[in-house]
């Protein structure tokens, strides 16, 4: 009797202090929280795929989430320019999937060779087939190799693109180390849209940071495919301040493209008849959605994947969602951070759909820091909402043009923390930089 009364009082006290939520653990799990039956397969373990897998499990710990990724580790594109500039080592940007596994994600290291949207199954290189209830594809980018005569995957082992981090990043770094003082570096940028809009310009900055210290007579040329670029005012201002005379930007035009590249002699020709020769070349080709998206007929005429921008479900195949660089996501840039944001919205959309409840109104964001030097950071940030079924910017912008040295240093410090954050939030991994 006494015991019962006591326990009842305690029970009510607990209710009073912690509120009604404290009742939930008393209930059987299937009543306490609605579970969504089903298997979700994620194709691709980059920012989009990993975040989606991670958040699906967080939103619904009962869900079976399988992530298929060919590589055992991710080398992040964000911050890879710091390796090229000699600030960090590639292993500091290399992260395993152990954290995701700990969060209950099943990670399969294999390559998806075929997707059958009508049968809702995927085939792996190993020969295994897997059925899914919902499929999320986050395949990143591939290159339109056919546009530059003489440049293909094999040629990129001589003239790197370094637009997928890893061996390519290290190769470009080694070539810069081997270059004599007074050498010429050429960075050719791709036409829009491409992964990481400020990336080529951050790269030029951090190469300049290295050259200024070690090979100060050297020059950098940016051969741009476009008329203007991301954070242009801020980059130009930073270059003038930190690297006067070192970086030359050649503006693109509608009529000029790279026509051919001879990787052995490092000579590049444009359709306008100009010829460029450099000691170190970095040619970043035009881009399209990753190859599996093409093979599955998920792309539009430009090579990107149209989606319902509320749920990221493909407009071409039901129950397949496409997130990250490969998707057409309104005003959002193609960035790892965007992919992370889209992945969370997509995870909420999938769970809502499986439970046949309305999904919450989405909100998306992007934040990208660029380092002009280790002590000089600039940023772009935005919050997005769905307006007329398109992702539209509601706030944001770039760092102020007028800012103190201290402000730029603060932003550089924030950039390092931003990297720690976005990696932990996406891959459940701790960064050591």
């Amino acid at each position: 009797m006494t015991i019962k009364k006591l326990s009842r009082r305690k029970f009510i006290e607990a209710l009073g202090t912690a509120g009604a939520i404290s009742v939930v653990p008393w209930l059987p799990a299937n009543i306490a929280q609605a579970k969504s039956a089903g298997r979700i397969i994620i194709v691709g373990g980059g920012y989009g795929g990993a975040t989606c897998a991670n958040y699906l499990r967080q939103y619904d710990p009962g869900l079976e989430v399988v992530m298929v990724e060919a590589s055992k580790k991710i080398v992040t594109c964000p911050f890879s320019n710091t390796v090229i500039g000699g600030i960090y080592k590639i292993n500091q940007l290399t992260h395993g999937y152990g954290g995701l596994k700990k969060n209950g994600v099943k990670v399969i290291n294999d390559l998806v060779t075929n997707i059958d949207p009508s049968e809702k199954k995927i085939r792996l290189k190993s020969g295994e087939t897997l059925k899914y209830d919902r499929l999320v594809i986050s395949p990143g980018i591939d290159f339109k190799w056919e546009l530059i005569d003489g440049y293909d995957e094999a040629a990129s082992r001589i003239v790197p693109h370094a637009w997928k981090a890893g061996e390519q990043t290290v190769l470009l770094r080694k070539q810069l180390e081997a270059m004599p003082d007074g050498g010429k570096v050429l960075i050719a940028t791709p036409p829009k849209p491409f992964r990481c809009p400020p990336g080529p310009y951050e790269r030029a900055s951090l190469i300049a940071h290295y050259l200024k210290k070690h090979k100060p007579k050297s020059k950098i040329i940016i051969l741009d495919a476009n008329k203007k670029f991301s954070k242009q005012g801020l980059f130009t201002q930073g270059w003038k301040k930190l690297y006067p005379g070192m970086i030359e930007w050649i503006q693109g035009s509608d009529t000029t493209e790279i026509e051919s590249l001879d990787v052995k002699s490092r000579v590049l020709k444009t359709t306008f008849g100009q010829t460029f020769k450099a000691d170190v070349m970095n040619v970043i080709p035009a881009q399209k959605a990753g190859v599996i998206a093409h093979r599955t007929d998920l792309v539009n005429e430009y090579g990107w994947c149209p989606v319902d921008q509320r749920t990221f479900e493909s407009t071409k195949h039901k129950h397949i969602h496409v997130i990250g660089d490969a998707s057409v996501a309104g005003a959002m840039p193609k960035s790892g951070y965007s992919a992370n944001s889209q992945a969370k919205v997509c995870a909420a959309a999938i769970i809502s759909s499986l439970r046949s409840v309305p999904m919450p109104e989405p909100a998306y964001s992007n934040t990208c820091y660029s380092l002009i030097s280790p002590d000089y950071g600039i940023s772009v940030a935005a919050v997005y909402r769905l307006k007329d079924n398109k992702i539209a910017k509601v706030s944001g912008g770039v760092s102020p043009t007028k800012a103190s040295k201290r402000f730029r240093r603060d932003e550089a410090d924030h950039a390092r923390d931003w990297y720690r954050g976005v990696v932990e939030d996406s891959f459940a991994a701790k960064v050591k930089i």
Binding site: E361, D410, D417, G421
Partner: protein
């Protein structure tokens, strides 16, 4: 009899609380979507890093005041002004409440 004395209120409580929590437990609460925009920089538990501050477990009113001041420009920042302008008063309140309950 004894069972009824204890059991009935208990059952009522359970039922009412179940009714109260079902709508949010069934779908994903919207604040989680909003908070997802914060955790990317502030960390999955809002724990913060070296210069990006902790927001998890702070006082609700403090978080709310900061967000409002970032939005109005009263509080200087490097980037939070650009983010805060993207949220309504109500959303800021939800976010402040959500992060204040984190450990």
């Amino acid at each position: 009899m004894r069972i009824n004395r204890v059991g009935l209120p208990l059952l009522l409580l359970l039922t009412s609380s179940l009714f109260m929590t079902t709508p949010s437990a069934n779908g994903i609460e919207r604040v989680k979507i909003l908070a997802g925009n914060c955790s990317t920089c502030h960390g999955p538990q809002g724990q913060g890093y070296e210069v990006i501050p902790r927001i998890g477990g702070l006082d609700k009113d403090d978080i709310l005041k900061l967000l409002k001041d970032f939005k109005s420009g009263e509080e200087t920042s490097t980037i939070m002004d650009r983010h805060a302008k993207g949220y309504t008063q109500q959303e800021m309140e939800q976010l402040a409440d959500y992060f204040s309950k984190m450990e």
